[in-house]
């Protein structure tokens, strides 16, 4: 009989190998699914993983890689901090929306004045919007012990309603002939978040995401905050004994993750998206949860996972266009990635043993 046995210490090798094994298994199972759908599995996998980088239209899709990976990485870095401490902010999507609303409102308040102050003001406003939205579940949890998973998740839907109201009301483009959506911030020079190097997709948000990876790595390995986060996640009682104030940690972790999500929303609305429309959010806040876990809640891992996830997004779109794969199949493919990750993850803490059960 095969059974699972707890390892005396978590396996370091498996911690690193898990994402790669999960990606390989996803390719296998996904390929099988594509085959069942009557598509050539090899071509489908190639379209998703290879063509966006080296295919015929790569010059268009390559910059998209950074544009999509930037917000995912930025949000995931913030989330990973809380996840490591056992604080489950599932509502990054809502914080992302609020960051975009705050930033767009700030930018539009100055329109059409030109000043170098507009962009920094929008950055601050974006971070503030995300932080404030995250403080709702944080403070409710600290004060009343509510479950942050539920509160933060439900606030996403509130945020979506707020977004719609803004796009249709207060922030609607007065010259938009009644169509929903704000003015295009990308066409307002003082507020536009343009590529730092034209044609690469490398905008300010992507640069900040890379900085966040480095800062995140330093905080987790060398700073007291990272130590406290890990401590609180592993043994809450020992953390309190070590001087960690659990309420303080909840506020800090939710604040950081909310702030980074808000920033991601700000850079998106001022750059790639340009306008604040009803359908402004496309699920970065939720996908970032997958990215955070795929990256093993480790900043470097998140960088790689964010790029991989962006690749499956772009490749998925490409496969939809070129191979007529249904959107649902692409989404299932992405879901498999998280599923296999969690399944293979068991092997870091456990190992398989063959043979008879021995009770120790």
């Amino acid at each position: 009989m095969i059974r699972l046995e707890r390892r005396p210490e978590p396996s370091r090798a498996w911690t690193i190998a898990t994402p790669f094994v999960a990606v390989a298994l996803t390719m296998l199972a996904g390929g099988l699914m594509f085959a069942v759908l009557g598509k050539d599995p090899v071509e489908a996998i190639r379209t998703i993983f290879w063509d966006p980088l080296f295919g015929d239209f790569a010059s268009y899709s390559r910059p998209q890689l950074l544009v999509k990976a930037g917000p995912l990485i930025l949000i995931a870095i913030g989330l990973s901090l809380g996840f490591r401490a056992g604080i489950w902010n599932i509502g990054a999507e809502g914080q992302y929306i609020l960051g975009a609303i705050f930033a767009a409102a700030t930018g539009l308040a100055f329109y059409p004045a030109e000043s170098w102050l507009v962009f920094p003001a929008m950055i601050l406003a974006g971070a503030l919007g995300g932080i404030l939205w995250a403080m709702i579940p944080a403070l409710l949890k600290v004060r009343f012990g509510t479950n942050e998973v539920l509160v933060s998740l439900m606030l996403v839907y509130v945020a979506e309603a707020l977004l719609a109201s803004m796009a249709l009301g207060l922030l609607r483009n007065p010259e938009g002939m009644g169509f929903p959506g704000s003015r295009n911030l990308a066409q307002y020079p003082s507020a536009a978040n343009l590529d730092l190097i034209p044609g690469t997709g490398l905008h300010w948000g992507v640069a900040l995401a890379l900085i966040a990876v480095i800062v995140g790595q330093v905080v987790m390995t060398r700073h007291q905050l990272g130590f406290r986060v890990r401590l609180a996640g592993q043994s809450p009682r020992a953390a309190v004994f070590g001087g960690v104030n659990p309420g303080w940690l909840i506020v800090v972790c939710m604040g950081i993750s909310g702030g980074l999500a808000g920033l991601a929303g700000m850079f998106e609305v001022a750059g790639p998206a340009g306008r604040l429309g009803i359908d402004f959010n496309v699920g970065y806040g939720f996908t970032a949860i997958i990215v955070a876990f795929l990256g093993r809640l480790n900043p470097i891992g998140i960088l790689l996972a964010g790029l991989l996830m962006a690749l499956t997004y772009i490749g998925g779109e490409l496969a939809q266009l070129q191979m007529n794969l249904p959107l649902a199949a692409i989404q299932m493919f992405q879901g498999m990635l998280l599923f296999f990750l969690l399944a293979v993850d068991v092997l870091t803490a456990f190992r398989f043993r063959m043979g008879r059960r021995v009770v120790a």
């Binding site: 005396p8 700073h223 007291q224 592993q234 009682r237 020992a238 309190v240 070590g242 009770v359």
Partner: protein
């Protein structure tokens, strides 16, 4: 002479990297209380688990009643008349006594009939127990009764007891011993595992001593000195902790009217605790587990905030100060639970050094961790307290209980505290390591620190305390000089037998 009840011959059991039992042979006669002695890691648990069917030996065999006996699982052992009371209870707090007993039975009778049986058996053996009470409300001593009654209902021929007195007051120990004597008179054999040599001398008829998995001696405990048995267990001569002077200085810690609600369900509220502690003094606090020890330690460490004036450190009100602020001042604490409280199991020893030593050992600067210094500090603790581990990079989980205890106590001692509060400093630690820890505590007091030692081991408290006080239901008795304090007086201070009057001799 009749055949012994249980014969063990040549039992050997090896685990990867360690031989737990090596050719262990001895007999347990009918109607005797047989002591099994040994330090932690001597192989007592493995041996007992072999008898109880939890572990299968690699070699050797057992005979019960002269017939081959090789249980492959506990229910086979139970069917043959072997029962066991574990050191750690397996009871559900939210269920009644009768429901808990029923859970441990293969074919439990109807609950009201079982309740009747529990009353009968528990009264017959002098362990009165109300089957309808909720286990969460019972004292540790009463919980043990539940476990014992559960075994007695099976009418065992061999009863195995693992450290049964570690949770009992002296009076409760006497009640338990009466029960054991009654069982012995009925011909039941008892295998009795304990560290407490005086108890073994009181109750046991013969003793087998294990060291490193081997039988190193057999003796009659009634005629063998406790010290001789201890030295056989350790395989070396033991030194008794001692201190030179016992001078005391200024009052450093003052508790006045310390009160706090229970921090969690089934916790204990602290009520109106007054205390003065002087520099250089060791105050021993005794009491049965669950009478407020954890809560008092948490109030002192700063994990549980209380009103400012309830705790004074050198005249300063600190009731609201947090853990880190108190460490800065020199008020340190070592909690009872090693795994998950005093230490984070999955973190390395270096990281666990950082857990408490940051403020006083300058391991954090401008919020950044100084890993080099932390590692150095962890190495010094490991060296001075002889912590057996490959190095400071090892996860705390990988250390044995005793070794981790040496580390977490050593970690606090080496930070030169002005006041140190330790809860159960030598719990589960072998005799030699316990002596090291006690001596280190006394050295610390000698150097001018004030100590509060909370322990359930009265021998330990009597050995190292200047004054003794008892916790009972969240209140602290007035303290008395430890010198010359008799066991009966201590028992009275601990609150008698917690309303658990012995039924012996009454009916």
């Amino acid at each position: 002479m009749t055949t012994p009840l249980l014969e063990l011959s040549g039992l050997t059991k090896a685990y990867p990297g360690v031989v737990a039992n090596s050719e262990v042979s001895f007999d347990i006669a009918r109607g005797e209380v047989h002591a099994l002695l040994g330090e932690n890691g001597a192989g007592k648990s493995t041996l007992v688990k072999t008898i109880y069917g939890l572990v299968q030996p690699d070699a050797g065999h057992m005979r019960l009643d002269g017939k081959p006996f090789a249980p492959t699982e506990p229910c086979a052992a139970r069917a043959s008349g072997v029962a066991m009371v574990f050191q750690h209870f397996s009871l559900f707090d939210a269920m009644s006594v009768a429901e808990n007993v029923a859970l441990g039975m293969e074919e439990p009778p109807a609950l009201n009939r079982l309740a009747q049986q529990i009353r009968e058996v528990s009264n017959a053996y002098g362990l009165p127990l109300d089957p309808d009470r909720i286990v969460g409300d019972l004292s540790a001593g009463e919980r043990q009764r539940v476990e014992i009654v559960r075994c007695l209902l099976q009418e065992p021929r061999l009863l195995i007891m693992d450290e049964p007195t570690s949770v009992l007051t002296p009076q409760e120990v006497n009640i338990l011993f009466e029960t054991l004597r009654k069982l012995r008179a009925e011909g039941v054999s008892i295998l009795y595992i304990s560290h407490k040599l005086e108890e073994i001398r009181t109750i046991c008829d013969s003793a087998t001593i294990l060291r490193h998995g081997r039988v190193v001696g057999k003796c009659d405990p009634k005629t063998t000195a406790a010290r001789d048995m201890a030295e056989q267990m350790v395989g070396a001569t033991l030194s008794t902790p001692s201190r030179a002077s016992g001078r005391t200085g200024e009052v450093v810690l003052e508790l006045s009217g310390l009160a706090a609600p229970a921090p969690r369900a089934f916790g204990t509220a602290l009520r109106d605790i007054d205390l003065e502690l002087r520099a250089g003094e060791v105050l021993g606090i005794g009491g049965v587990a669950g009478n407020g020890q954890d809560e008092l330690a948490m109030a002192l460490s700063g994990e549980m905030a209380v009103a400012p004036g309830m705790i004074r450190f050198k005249g300063r009100e600190i009731g609201r100060e947090g853990v880190t602020a108190r460490r800065h001042m020199g008020l340190l604490c070592a909690p009872e639970e090693r795994m998950g409280h005093a230490a984070a199991p999955d973190m390395s020893l270096t990281e666990n050094a950082l857990l408490t030593a940051g403020p006083r050992e300058d391991l954090v600067r401008h919020g950044f961790l100084r890993w080099g210094r932390a590692k150095g500090f962890a190495e010094r603790v490991i060296e001075r307290f002889d912590v057996r581990t490959p190095g400071p990079g090892t996860a705390a989980r990988a250390l044995s209980g005793g070794n981790l205890q040496k580390f977490v106590i050593g970690r606090e001692i080496m930070q030169r505290p002005e006041v140190l509060v330790v809860n159960q400093p030598t719990w589960g630690v072998d005799a030699a390591a316990a002596a090291t820890i006690r001596q280190a505590l006394l050295d610390l007091a000698e150097a001018g620190a004030a100590l509060i030692v909370i322990s359930q081991d009265l021998d330990e408290l009597m050995e190292i305390s200047d004054r003794f006080a008892a916790l009972n239901g969240g209140t602290l008795s007035a303290s008395r000089p430890a010198q010359g304090l008799g066991i009966d007086e201590i028992g009275m201070m601990l609150g008698g037998a917690h309303d658990m009057a012995p039924a012996h001799g009454e009916g």
